[in-house]
């Protein structure tokens, strides 16, 4: 198993890492038993994600996919952000070892969950 240079770059220098003050939506996925926990925060203005941050406990791939997904969603319309799939995240990272693909799934789920949270809060269905 080896990570791509891009994965390692996002692991070493994760973009948008840290807590967000007053997020408009929060997605929490994973659980400590599996060893991966992701929290994704978004700020939304006019149906567009204007900022995204994350906090992640997990392996290199978990941290890198978190970092990558926050980069990918910033500036996206919510409806477009919802179209971001786990394989798009993995691809953006130059691929992931097969046994690490579940990390990209977590990233997708965290994003979906954050958007749901935002919509729930706004009362949007």
């Amino acid at each position: 198993m080896a990570y791509s240079e891009k994965v390692m770059d996002h692991f070493r220098n994760p973009r948008n890492v840290g807590e967000m003050k007053d997020p408009d939506g929060v997605g929490k996925v994973g659980n400590p038993v599996c060893g991966d926990i992701m929290e994704l925060y978004i700020k939304v203005k006019d149906d567009t994600i204007v900022d995204a941050k994350f906090q992640t406990l997990g392996c290199g791939a978990a941290i890198a996919t978190s970092s990558m997904v926050t980069e990918m969603v910033k500036g996206q319309k919510l409806e477009d952000a919802l179209k971001i799939s786990n394989s798009m995240v993995a691809e953006a990272l130059g691929g992931l070892p097969s046994q690490k693909m579940h990390c990209s799934v977590l990233a997708e789920e965290a994003l979906q969950s954050a958007i749901s949270d935002y919509r729930n809060k706004k009362g949007i269905k």
């Binding site: 692991f11 070493r12 046994q99």
Partner: protein, 394 residues
């Protein structure tokens, strides 16, 4: 570049004397040791010298030493071979929950062949209770297989005590000594074992060679079949240079004796003391004293092991999370689980295992990097954030 290699329980660099012995064999002594002409006989002699070295270390006869392709094969021959040879006598095997997969997985395979296997528990230090062994013995028990020293946490098992028990009950007893051979005393009579596995690449020898001690008279079947080599228990053209390298490595370990172990112990304790002093929320895994001198297994709470390894690698430091052969796998360590460590904690385990190339300077460099690495990773960690918030409100 100044790499600090702290994964000597996974594998060790071949030491220069061994590399030299190996290179010599590759150049000159290339014969097939089963052949008659002199170049084959020369190879034969070199191989038998290595066998004598091993017999000396094990305190056994040369005929009782079988060379194999490594620790995994030795374990498999022992477990599968004894069980299958004694099928008519019984179908019960006793082992532990903390064995290497090279013992656990043959046991699982035997379950499919109709054997029943007792996997003994361990205490929080990873130690087996000999009383548990005794209690588990039935009239159908044909094999007890318990490792000498654990590869993940280093805990050393009370093999001699269990050996007496096995002898009293006339049950064949195997120990996986892959981590202890060349480090602890492995006299087979003192340990009271009938079979013992060892592997060359754990003691600065070449990869691809190991040994199985088989006490004379032990009922055992091979797992592969072919020529007459190694008393037909391990057929195939012998890996003569590998065996010679292994012999040289073992000879050198024996010559160094306990001095090197004492040195490693000092390094290990220096590192552990430094970690305790500089990193909060850490926990030692393994027995405080009955433990391999070079093994340090620590849980760093609120972080995950792989991310520590990758970060340390950037500082030129090589360490391991679980046992090497499962680091491709995702399950938390079965050893830590057996010791009662909950999975959410065991994900934060890091194994640092020392070897002959390590120095005090290495330890100090690790102590410089490690606290920073853990702090950085914790700063990303949502559960560390939650923990800190809890503390503030408390």
């Amino acid at each position: 570049m100044g790499r600090i290699y702290l994964d000597n329980n996974a594998t060790t660099p071949v030491r220069p004397e061994v590399a030299e012995a190996l290179a010599g064999m590759l150049k000159g002594c290339y014969g097939n040791p089963s052949t008659l002409y002199c170049i084959g006989q020369e190879a034969h002699v070199e191989m038998e010298h290595a066998r004598d070295v091993m017999a000396g270390i094990l305190g056994c006869n040369r005929e009782e030493v079988i060379f194999t392709s490594g620790g995994t094969e030795s374990d498999n021959i022992a477990v599968l071979g004894v069980a299958r040879a004694n099928r008519k006598k019984g179908n019960h095997i006793i082992t532990t929950k903390i064995e290497h997969h090279a013992v656990l997985n043959p046991c699982k395979a035997l379950e499919k062949e109709g054997f029943s296997v007792t996997y003994l528990p361990v205490d929080k230090y990873g130690m087996v209770d000999p009383a548990d062994v005794e209690r588990s013995i039935t009239s159908g028990t044909v094999l007890i297989s318990i490792m000498h020293a654990n590869n993940e946490v280093g805990t050393i098992q009370p093999i001699a005590e269990i050996g007496k028990m096995a002898r009293a009950h006339k049950i064949t007893f195997h120990t996986d000594a892959v981590q202890s051979f060349g480090k602890l005393s492995v006299n087979v009579n003192e340990l009271g074992v009938d079979l013992l596995s060892a592997s060359s690449h754990k003691i600065y020898g070449p990869k691809g060679v190991g040994l199985l001690y088989v006490r004379k008279g032990t009922k055992i079947l091979p797992i592969m079949f072919g020529g007459h080599q190694e008393r037909s228990l391990r057929p195939g053209t012998e890996n003569v240079p590998g065996v010679v390298g292994f012999g040289k490595a073992a000879e050198l370990m024996a010559a160094e004796g306990p001095a090197e172990e004492a040195r490693l112990l000092k390094l290990r304790e220096r590192l552990w003391e430094g970690i305790k002093a500089n990193v909060p929320h850490v926990k030692l895994n393994g027995h405080p004293t009955m433990r391999l001198a070079g093994t340090l297994n620590v849980i760093f709470e609120y972080v995950e092991g792989e991310s520590i390894i990758l970060s340390l690698d950037e500082h030129g430091i090589c360490a391991a999370s679980g046992s090497a052969c499962t680091s491709d796998a995702l399950e938390p360590s079965h050893v830590l689980a057996a010791m009662g460590v909950p999975p959410e904690k065991s994900h934060g385990a890091l194994r640092m295992s020392f070897g002959r190339e390590n120095t005090e300077q290495d330890v100090d460099k690790v102590l410089e990097a490690l606290p920073k690495v853990v702090e950085k990773l914790r700063s990303f960690s949502p559960i560390y954030k939650d923990f800190l918030k809890q503390q503030q409100t408390a």
